[in-house]
């Protein structure tokens, strides 16, 4: 191998070599690739044993596949000996070719460090991005599952509401007829019919609890505060509870603090349910002694206290009794749906209040409920609490498809002096109301042919200006809203309590 003499090289080759001396090797090969000449220090590019006359392709595998008749430049090629070279091929003028190998090992090492850092950073970014993508996908999946669960819950609520409606219609007949009979039969039959009323009301409270629970689960429940006569409510509750307590030989008493206003603004239906649930439990689980209800005003809140002399609740159980479907051990505690106290807690929260209890095993339990309320505005007149004894022949159209309920309503409404027109579907309700112009239309939601909502809409569209009252077992807030939008003036939930029905009709027709 001769010393490299730039002056002896062709111009194109010399230019490449000039920029790279001394770490350069120049080879000349013939058209078949046989090595003719080798110039420079081969050790600078970690090559050894280059032999003239032999094929350059076998000595330098990196040249395999290349056409030495073309000008080529390959940057930074590991020459097979762990050394990086730039390779140039330059066609010669004598049916030969020149191959220039320039050592770039230092450049390769520097570039490798730089590129390694850059690639590792990119890999890290890609891994992070992948994790982020996985998180986003997991969140989307969770969101999908949450929506599905919500939809399932809504479906369940609708189902329970529908079942509730189905129960309420026959319960209206059961309770209504039993109440009617209790005023008309001998003492024994009256006691029996009152038992039917009690059983019916108990069943109704179970239905109400189920429905309330379903509404609370889907956050469909909302407080509906209204001006109420608190003492009337307490009397009403006492009238329900006292006979139940008396049957078990328990003393029952209800007290209302005179400091409490006569009228206040609060959600009567929810307060009623809270009282019924707490008092119902107290009566149910107390064998001897008494059950007592106290209402007072403390720190501008309604304070409800329900005290019994029952078996008491163990310390460990106090935290569990408000959990749904949790019933305490012991045969006495296994009665009921296991929803009462859970719903009571939810209702108290819904009304913005709090609930707690004191209890001692063998001595009894005292529940405390505190509920915020507002004073009733002075200008709101007191609602009629007593039904009218009789009307002056006002005309009422009843649209109801349950024949038993129709017969029951006929009994009460006729006795109250109303003139009745009865239809059993929505289409006839519209045509009869438009033809006869009754003072009031009392109409079920779920009527055949044309449902109650559509019928109410049609009545309003066709100019009927009388009062239209919804009569239904549907009690969801959405249903009430729909009723108002359809043109209903009032809403009476089944099972209908006859005194309330009469009072509502009288108020709406006044």
């Amino acid at each position: 191998m001769s010393t490299l003499d730039i002056a002896r090289l062709p111009d194109a080759v010399a230019k490449i070599v000039a920029a790279a001396v001394p770490a350069t090797v120049v080879l000349r090969v013939d058209r078949l690739g046989r090595l003719l000449e080798a110039h420079g220090d081969a050790s600078t590019v970690k090559l050894s044993g280059l032999g003239t006359g032999k094929s350059v392709f076998s000595q330098l595998p990196m040249l395999e596949g290349s056409d030495l008749g073309d000008r080529n430049h390959w940057a930074c090629i590991d020459n097979g000996a762990g050394h990086a070279v730039d390779v140039d091929t330059v066609p010669g003028e004598l049916d030969d070719a020149w191959i220039v190998l320039v050592s770039v090992e230092d450049r390769r090492l520097a570039q490798q460090q730089q590129q390694l850092a850059a690639n590792e950073a990119r890999l890290m970014n890609q891994r992070q991005q992948k994790l982020v993508d996985q998180l986003v996908a997991a969140r989307s999946e969770l969101e999908l599952r949450r929506r599905e669960a919500e939809e399932a819950l809504t479906d369940k609520t609708r189902f329970i509401a529908s079942m509730s409606h189905e129960f309420r219609t026959p319960l209206t007949s059961v309770i209504g007829y039993a109440e009617w009979l209790s005023t008309a039969l001998d003492d024994t039959a009256q006691r029996q019919s009152r038992a039917i009323v009690r059983a019916g009301r108990h069943m109704l409270s179970l239905v109400n609890n189920l429905l309330e629970q379903a509404q609370l689960e889907t956050n469909q429940a909302s407080a509906r505060p209204d001006c109420i006569a608190l003492r009337d409510l307490v009397e009403d509750i006492a009238a329900i509870m006292a006979p139940l307590a008396a049957e078990k030989g328990l003393a029952f008493a209800a007290f209302v603090d005179p400091q409490l206003p006569e009228r206040l603004v609060i959600d009567e239906m929810r307060v009623r349910q809270i009282l019924i649930n707490l008092l119902g439990n107290a009566v149910k689980f107390t064998r001897t002694g008494s059950v007592q209800l106290n209402l007072s005003s403390q720190a501008d809140q309604l304070h409800i206290e329900v005290a019994d002399t029952g078996p008491g609740i163990a310390e460990d159980d106090k935290g569990r009794i408000f959990t749904a479907f949790k019933r305490l051990e012991g045969s006495q505690r296994q009665v009921g749906s296991g929803l009462g106290l859970h719903i009571t807690l939810q209702l108290v929260k819904l009304l913005g209040g709090s609930i707690g209890l004191d209890s001692e095993i063998g001595r009894g339990t005292k529940f405390h409920v505190r509920l915020p309320y507002q004073d009733a505005p002075a200008e709101i007149p007191a609602a009629a609490s007593e039904p009218a004894a009789a009307t002056t022949g006002q005309h009422l159209l009843l649209a109801e498809d349950d024949p038993d309920l129709v017969q029951l309503l006929q009994l009460y409404l006729a006795r109250a002096g109303y003139v009745l027109t009865i239809v059993d579907n929505g289409r006839d309700a519209v045509s009869e109301a438009l033809a006869r112009q009754p003072d009031l239309v009392l109409m079920d939601f779920n009527l055949p042919i044309v449902d109650g909502l559509s019928a109410a809409c049609q009545l309003r569209e066709k100019g009927y200006s009388g009062v239209v009252v919804a009569l239904t077992g549907a009690t969801l807030d959405d249903d009430r809203l729909q009723a108002v939008e359809a043109g209903f003036d009032g809403f009476i939930a089944k099972p209908i309590r006859m005194p309330e029905l009469m009072a509502t009709l009288q108020a709406l027709l006044a």
Partner: protein, 166 residues
């Protein structure tokens, strides 16, 4: 019978395991340490094929997601391509597709075999069956390989060797 020499280029995105695949094939070795390739690293191995012995001169070209003029020049004279992607990084399959298309545009039809590498990390793969089906239309064969365990590396490169030996 003297072995015929054939230039084979191995291409793909960075860090998909090209150098490790060549090391497994040529030296039956594997290193966990990641060392990026700068320019081209050349290795050779002679194997027997149905057409006779072949000396594979394997150009391990630095990983890139797109060829520049420099990388294109490396492909010149290649008898076949080993195209590599990383099964745990799905987008490297897209890069492999792009590189294959660019090479075809520049140098026409050259036999190629696709290696979806890192089969030893199958749990972390984000490459599905549909992707394999579509890759099969672009390459003579598609292999799930692991340079770490050696799975299918020999098969994949021998498949290409058979195609370029004749």
């Amino acid at each position: 019978m003297e072995a015929v020499a054939r230039k084979i280029c191995i291409i793909g995105d960075f860090a998909v395991g090209k150098t490790s695949t060549v090391a497994r094939f040529v030296h039956n070795a594997f290193s966990e340490k990641y060392l990026t390739t700068v320019g081209v690293k050349i290795d050779t191995r002679e194997i027997d094929t149905n057409s006779g012995p072949v000396k594979l001169v394997i150009w391990d070209i630095a990983g890139t997601d797109r060829f520049s003029a420099i990388e294109f020049s490396y492909l010149r004279g290649a008898a076949g391509y080993l195209v590599v992607a990383d099964g745990t990084r799905g987008h490297t399959v897209d890069v492999a597709r792009r590189l294959r298309a660019e090479a075809r545009e520049r140098y026409g039809e050259v036999p190629s075999v696709m290696l979806v590498n890192k089969a030893d990390l199958a749990d972390e793969w984000d490459t599905d069956e549909a992707t394999f089906d579509s890759l099969a239309q672009d390459h003579a064969a598609v292999f799930r390989t692991s340079a770490k365990t050696g799975d299918n590396v020999e098969n994949a490169i021998r498949t290409l060797a058979e195609m370029v030996a004749g």
